[in-house]
């Protein structure tokens, strides 16, 4: 479709051919070009009016007009309203600045388009001009040499010998920790002692022989499991004041637990 030339005798608007425009700035630049004046002297106000008209018309045909075109249109409408303020009012700095910025962007876009055109006119390799099709390679690769170092030889020998040593001496580590069974036995001995004690720390169960940290932890775990097991069957009572505090235990009030325990 074509817009009729401006009724007020200004500038004939260009063909409305939205497929030709990639975006709002594109269209603006084309409108500016249609004014056939130096971009530096173009009237932003006129440009805005044309842009809004074109977009308005386009919208009635092309509903799918991209949202950013409308954003730009809204922004330009705002710009127009500010630029139209009566002269007696103080000049609107924001609007002046925005108009200046728009100017600069249009000029930069125009420049980049010119640059793109210039690039397009350059003879393009493999299109307009061609390089040699068949490469001749004068590089010969000589792989006869050997790169070896004594350090690598010794390193290799050492790794052979280390592997060998490891092979010879390897034995799975046998762990002999204090077990739950040990703990149950120790606990029964404690409870059956003639002087049945009151609250006792669970740690007291762990034999002094468990010296390494790992062994001691294993023994503690065993003692706790044994304690829990026996608490379940009612022969002991467990107590812990606060989390992570010492765990205390004593024989249950009912003395039935003791003969029960002896069955084992």
């Amino acid at each position: 479709m074509e817009m009729p030339g401006g009724g007020d005798g200004v500038i004939p608007a260009p063909h409305l051919c939205l497929d030709g425009f990639e975006g709002p700035l594109d269209l603006l630049l084309d409108l500016a070009r249609a004014q056939k004046v130096d971009l530096a002297r173009i009237s932003i106000l006129q440009l805005v009016e044309q842009y809004l008209t074109v977009v308005e018309q386009a919208r009635s045909i092309r509903l799918e007009l991209a949202a950013d075109w409308l954003v730009m249109a809204a922004w330009l409408a705002w710009l127009k309203s500010r630029l139209l303020l009566p002269a007696e009012n103080a000049p609107d700095d924001d609007a002046e600045e925005a108009a200046g910025l728009l100017h600069e962007r249009l000029i930069e876009l125009e420049r980049m388009r010119a640059a793109a055109l210039w690039l397009a006119t350059q003879p393009r390799l493999r299109d307009d001009v061609h390089a040699r099709g068949m490469e001749e390679n004068f590089r010969e690769i000589d792989r006869t040499g050997l790169r070896v170092e004594v350090s690598a030889l010794i390193g290799a020998y050492l790794s052979v010998m280390r592997r060998r040593n490891r092979r010879r001496h390897y034995a799975p580590v046998r762990l002999r920790y204090w077990t739950v069974t040990d703990a149950v036995a120790a606990l029964r001995r404690l409870l059956n002692a003639p002087s049945a004690p009151g609250w006792q720390s669970l740690t007291a169960l762990v034999p002094a022989t468990e010296t390494t940290q790992q062994a001691w932890r294993a023994a503690m775990a065993g003692a706790l499991v044994a304690g829990l097991e026996m608490a379940k069957e009612g022969s002991v009572e467990l107590r812990q004041e606060t989390p992570f505090a010492a765990i205390l235990l004593r024989a249950a009030e009912t003395t039935t637990a003791i003969p029960h325990g002896e069955e084992i």
Binding site: P12, P14, H15, C17, G20, E22, G23, P24, L25, D26, L28, D30, R33, A34, K36, V37, D38, L39, D68, M72, R105, I107, E108, L109, E110, R111, M112, R113, A114, A115, A116, L117, W118, L119, A120, Q122, P123, R124, L125, R126, D127, D128, V129, H130, A131, R132, G133, E135, E136, N137, F138
Partner: protein, 192 residues
């Protein structure tokens, strides 16, 4: 014509890519000549190709033989052509060339339109642009710049061979000047 100048000619001729000046100088030095002689040798070689179908051109900081531009149309049927870049891709490429290193967002701001992924893919696919680090702003977007392939593709010695920014707009304005004298402009949209 000396053996060395013939050898230099052969060296450039044999290669599919531009041969860097450094390699040529090295070659001269290794063969007992002065690297200073290179410019004169190049000039001699170049002169010998007057009237040939191929010419010696300076491109991407090196030398390369290429077929003459005016034979382009005759050769189209013979040699496969790469696909042409779209207008959007050419514009985006121009923006990268003049604003590098720049982010995708910066390209979009200058062109006033979102950069389609296919455009970026086309430029990357032809190795015309390459990542040049990241911009230290939130999101650390990739900064793009033109590649050596870009120079070679468009027959440029280096980036300085691009028209200066100030020169870019001189031509279109002068070209449009007659329009104001009442001559109907021929715009891309067709005559009014």
């Amino acid at each position: 014509m000396t053996v060395l100048s013939r050898a230099i000619e052969a060296m450039i001729f044999a290669s599919q890519e531009p041969v860097g000046e450094a390699s040529l100088r090295d070659f001269l030095e290794q063969n007992g000549a002065s690297p200073e002689d290179l410019p004169q040798m190049i000039a001699e070689i170049s002169a010998r190709y007057d009237g040939h179908g191929i010419e010696l051109v300076s491109v991407a900081k090196g030398w390369q033989f290429r077929t003459c531009v005016e034979l382009a149309s005759m050769l189209t049927t013979v040699v496969e052509r790469p696909r042409r870049l779209s207008r959007a891709a050419m514009e985006a490429l121009a923006v990268v060339a003049y604003h590098q290193p720049c982010t995708r967002a910066e390209i979009e701001t200058i062109r006033g339109v979102a950069l389609n992924q296919s455009v970026l893919d086309a430029l990357l696919g032809d190795d015309l642009i390459v990542p040049r680090g990241r911009k230290e702003v939130p999101g650390r977007p990739v900064l793009w710049g033109t590649s050596g392939k870009f120079l070679s593709a468009f027959g440029l010695v280096d980036l300085n061979a691009l028209p200066r920014r100030e020169e870019l707009l001189v031509e279109p304005v002068s070209a449009e000047a007659p329009d104001e004298d009442g001559i109907a402009p021929v715009s891309e949209d067709g005559p009014t």
